[in-house]
Amino acid sequence: MRLQDHILVPKHEILKEEEVEKLLKLLGVSKEQLPKIKVTDPIVKEIGAKAGDIIKITRKSPTAGVSIFYRFVVE
């Protein structure tokens, strides 16, 4: 069973290299200043992200419709 198929688990995807650069430039931060997620996190394992990657999470929000979060994968 895929975790992402569960209705309560929002969409997780690994950000591509150029997207990462764009994002960090937009926010004006280094990777370490983003919120973190552990590589051992089940969802991280499932999408196959490695430490150093950035994950984009697209959540449904009752007030904003869709809300986007980023997580920096750490050991």
Binding site: L27, Q33, L34, P35, R59, S61, T63, A64, S67, F69
Partner: protein
């Protein structure tokens, strides 16, 4: 320049070498000053430790008083003494290590496991206190040293600083360990064995917990004060240090003279006592050291601890200048954006005028004025302050030029910050404009009470005068009262009419009331209106419309009965408010329209016209309402709750019937005929049914009373319009107070062993009377037993409030500490200020400012549709 970042703070224990190294003088003279008033060499006021008297120079750095920061000295203790603050860890170390070889009473593998566990928890930033406890528990129980095989003797720690070895637990044979013994044992512990006790051998050696040398703080830390009589009065710390030196010297003398062991031991004890109280004078188990007057001395720990200590009193809390505090009282005639300041306060507080070529004439005028507001001081560019008095004002005015600062008394129109504690939200500090008034209280418009949560039963408030132009501008733009009409808590108005405002407008707008021209003019006198159509009579709704900005809105008022189908325009209660283009057509203005926290009309004006028009509306509304209620007259008295005999009769009957039904329920329960409700025990069922029955009885009694208290009753008017009180309050006054409860149950506690609440009842009586049902009304008065139950129920409420405020206060404090560095940046992200770490990518997921939201929702769809439709038309 970037601020430097602190990466870590590490606490260590001062080693004896460190203490000697930082010391500039070895002190051994108990005298402080000689007969000529000069500090004695090697005494506690030695000039090498710094100077406090003007004229003297520090022998260490050459600085004069005020320049020299002070330097530490030291006392060589003739015999070691235990440091009270470390006594507990010493106890753990003593009972955890071998008395022969000094190794920890654990096998190496066991020890290393604990070390790793502590390391792990440290890395996670978690508390490892539990591991330390476990180590203590295990090592304490060890009978034999696993390293050298020596038998272990149990250590007894007697607070605050004594240690004993229990040689024979049965015969109670004990051997005291002197601090010297203790120190020798601690010296034997190897570095690796310190880790499982939570000590870092790089920072601490165990034997440093027993003092052999005592650091003496510089004189600047403990300055003596000179009394009016010319006598010197030494600081408490100096007193204590004198005691220590005196005993220390006596110990040396006695030891050198070969005094008996007993005398030396007594002196040693005494030295231990003095050092202990020097460090902390509130240690339990020993009497606190006292001043000659009998006052306990304030020693090191007392300087730091508690509310007035260094941390809470001096570092986090500071006193401010340019502030005032006094009792508040209401003044409906001033604007909500104003605050009435007593003349006396206005004369004391000052605002600086920074003199420029543009304002020099204004500044000069203030200097020359003979009456308030006048200049109180001028400050020259070289920083000299000159007081402006009658004799020098002309001279100063002459000399005045750009670059000077004129300090002027507070006057009308100045901007000040006004605050009421507890400052729980940002509306607790708002900017007001000054209105200098006679008498001695701060005056504020009652409509600003809700955001401050103020009333006038003796509340005091603080006032601060911003001193720089930046601060004044910021206060005016960001903190002004009108900028806080909408609350960031729920996106609705927090400011609004209270009590009489609501009653007044209710009386004005209810129904088709007509007012004579004279009355109408009186109502509108205080309101600034340019034009009023000439008429002989005015409708109440019409008068209210005069102050309304051009808004259109429809809503159900507070007095709405909640009919199944709303008849809207044709509501017979006149509870459906229709305002079209600033004209009030239908309905009644009450709490729902203009009340604080509710105020739909205020909300609408705020959204459509912004803060300054809303401010004017609230000002006009309060003035109008107060004039209406004053002219019409409004009063309540005890006889307002009088109800006719037949009503009393009916109420009596209703309650008696209910009580009879309760009796029946109890009989059914006792006979076992009571059917339990699903998921409830028989007892619970009975309780619930009884509560239900009695609740219903009270409601019915209330309805009966309500029938005789018509809509012309003042108390009823206040209850239905939402001005003050509720129908329940009226029921309790007129008809029946009802069931008293503690913890949501009928009152069952009292004589627990006889199963009754008071001695007036039989054991196990479950009847309504015996369990706290009060059938009397407040007006008729309570029977003594009823009164007792009522007090029990009332007490619970008081306890709850007391508990809740302390709990929520602490919660608030923790929240503020956790969130204080977070800031919403201009790009909508929430970041930590120092590290730049992102906490939220968009504030609150949606980036909505709750103050600008529509009652918490991001968009008010209905409103948008309505506005578009209006444009189309």
């Amino acid at each position: 320049m970037y601020p430097k970042k602190i990466s870590t703070i590490k606490f260590e224990v001062l080693s004896p070498q460190e203490i000697r190294r930082m010391s500039v003088a070895k002190l051994n003279n108990p005298e402080t000053y000689d007969d000529d008033g000069f500090p004695v060499e090697s005494g506690l006021m030695d000039t090498r430790l710094g100077v406090i008297d003007p004229g003297l120079k520090c022998k260490t750095c050459g600085g004069k008083a005020g320049e020299c920061p002070g330097h530490f000295g030291h006392i060589e203790l003739a015999a070691p003494v235990v440091h009270v603050g470390y006594a507990k860890i010493i106890a753990r170390l003593l009972s955890g290590t071998c008395r022969e070889c000094g190794r920890i009473l654990l096998k190496d593998e066991r020890r290393d496991k604990f070390i790793r566990e502590i390391e792990r928890l440290k890395a996670l930033g978690q508390s490892y206190e539990e591991v330390l406890k476990e180590v203590f528990r295990l090592t304490k129980a060890a009978k034999k040293c696993p390293h050298c095989g020596a038998e272990q003797i149990e250590i007894k720690f007697e607070k605050p600083t004594s240690f004993y070895e229990i040689l024979d637990p049965e015969k109670k044979e004990e051997q005291k360990l002197t601090p010297k013994d203790v120190r020798e044992r601690l010296e034997k512990i190897i570095n690796e064995d310190l880790l499982p006790f939570g000590l870092d051998p790089k920072a601490v050696r165990a034997e440093w917990f027993v003092l052999t040398v005592l650091p003496v703080p510089p004189v600047t830390v403990r300055p003596s004060i000179i009394l009016e009589t010319g006598q010197r009065s030494e600081d408490d710390l100096t007193h204590k240090l004198v005691d220590i030196i005196r005993i220390n010297q006596r110990f040396i003398e006695n030891r050198d003279a070969g005094a008996p062991q007993q005398i030396l031991e007594d002196l040693w004890e005494l030295l231990q006592y003095h050092v202990t109280t020097y460090l902390d004078n509130e240690v339990s188990g020993i009497p606190p050291a006292r001043h000659r007057s009998g006052r306990p001395l304030k020693t090191l720990a007392q300087r730091l601890k508690g509310k007035d200590g260094r941390f809470r009193g001096s570092l986090s809390g500071k006193r401010v200048n340019f502030s005032a505090r006094t009792v508040i009282s209401p003044d409906p005639c001033i604007s909500i954006g104003e605050v009435g300041v007593p003349e006396e306060v206005a004369k004391e507080l000052s605002v600086p005028i920074f003199v420029t070529p543009n304002n020099i004439e204004v500044a000069r005028e203030f200097v020359l004025r003979k009456q308030s507001p006048k200049a109180s001081y001028v400050i020259r560019p070289d920083g000299k302050r000159i007081r402006v008095i009658d004799t020098n004002q002309e001279e100063i005015a002459e000399k005045l030029e750009p670059g000077w600062i004129v300090e002027r008394e507070l006057m009308d129109g100045d901007i000040v910050l006004f605050n009421r504690q507890p400052s729980l939200h940002r509306m607790s500090i708002m900017a007001h404009h000054v209105r200098v008034l006679p008498y001695k209280t701060f005056r504020l418009n009652p409509a600003v009470c809700p955001p401050y949560n103020a009333d006038f039963d003796g509340d005091e408030m603080n006032l601060h005068v911003p001193q720089s132009l930046e601060a004044q501008a910021e206060a005016k733009i960001l903190m002004a009262v009108q900028e806080h009409i909408l609350s960031p808590r729920f996106g609705g108005p927090i400011l609004g009419g209270i009590h009489d405002h609501i009653t007044g407008l209710y009386l004005l707008t209810r129904g088709e009331k007509k007012f004579e021209k004279e009355d109408a003019m009186e109502f509108l006198r205080a309101v600034d209106l340019s034009e009023i159509p000439a008429k002989d009579e005015y409708m109440g709704k019409e008068i209210f419309s005069f102050i309304l900005p051009k808004i259109s809105i429809k809503f159900k008022a507070e007095i709405c009965q909640g009919c199944a189908i709303c008849k809207e325009e044709s509501c017979e209660n006149d509870a459906y408010v229709i305002i079209e283009n600033g004209k009030m057509l239908k309905g009644t203005i009450d709490e729902k329209a203009v009340g604080a926290f509710k105020g739909i009309v205020i909300d609408e004006i705020m959204r459509k016209f912004g803060s300054s028009i809303t401010k004017k509306f609230i000002d006009d509304m309060t003035k109008l309402a107060i004039r209406v209620i004053t002219r019409l007259g409004f009063t309540i008295g005890i006889d307002d709750e009088d109800i006719p005999k037949e009503a009393v009769q009916q109420i009596e009957e209703t309650i008696s019937e209910a009580e009879k039904r309760v009796e029946e329920l109890i009989r059914a329960y006792k006979e076992g005929n009571l059917e339990p409700m699903p998921g409830r025990s028989l007892e619970e069922t009975l309780e619930l049914r009884i509560m239900q029955e009695l609740g219903k009885a009270r409601d019915r009694a209330g309805k009966i009373a309500g029938r005789y208290l018509g809509m012309d009753n003042s108390a009823v008017i206040m209850a239905v319009s939402g001005a003050r009180g509720s129908m329940l309050n009226l029921t309790q006054m007129a008809a029946c107070i009802g069931q008293q409860s503690v913890r949501g149950e009928r009152i069952t506690r009292g004589y627990a062993y006889t199963h009754r609440t008071t001695s007036h009842f039989r054991s196990m009586d479950l009847g309504s009377k015996a369990r706290g049902f009060v059938r009397s009304s407040y007006k008729s008065g309570l029977s003594p037993i009823e009164f007792f139950f009522h007090a029990a129920g009332g007490r619970e409420g008081l306890v709850d409030t007391a508990v809740r405020t302390s709990q929520s206060g602490y919660l608030q404090r923790r929240m503020i500490n956790a969130l204080q560095d977070l800031k919403v940046e201009y790009d909508g992200t929430v970041r930590e200020q120092t590290s730049g770490v992102i906490v939220q990518f968009k504030y609150g997921e949606d980036g909505v400012d709750p103050m600008k939201s529509f009652r918490g929702k991001a968009v008010d769809v209905k409103r948008i549709i309505r506005e578009i439709m209006e444009v189309k038309e």
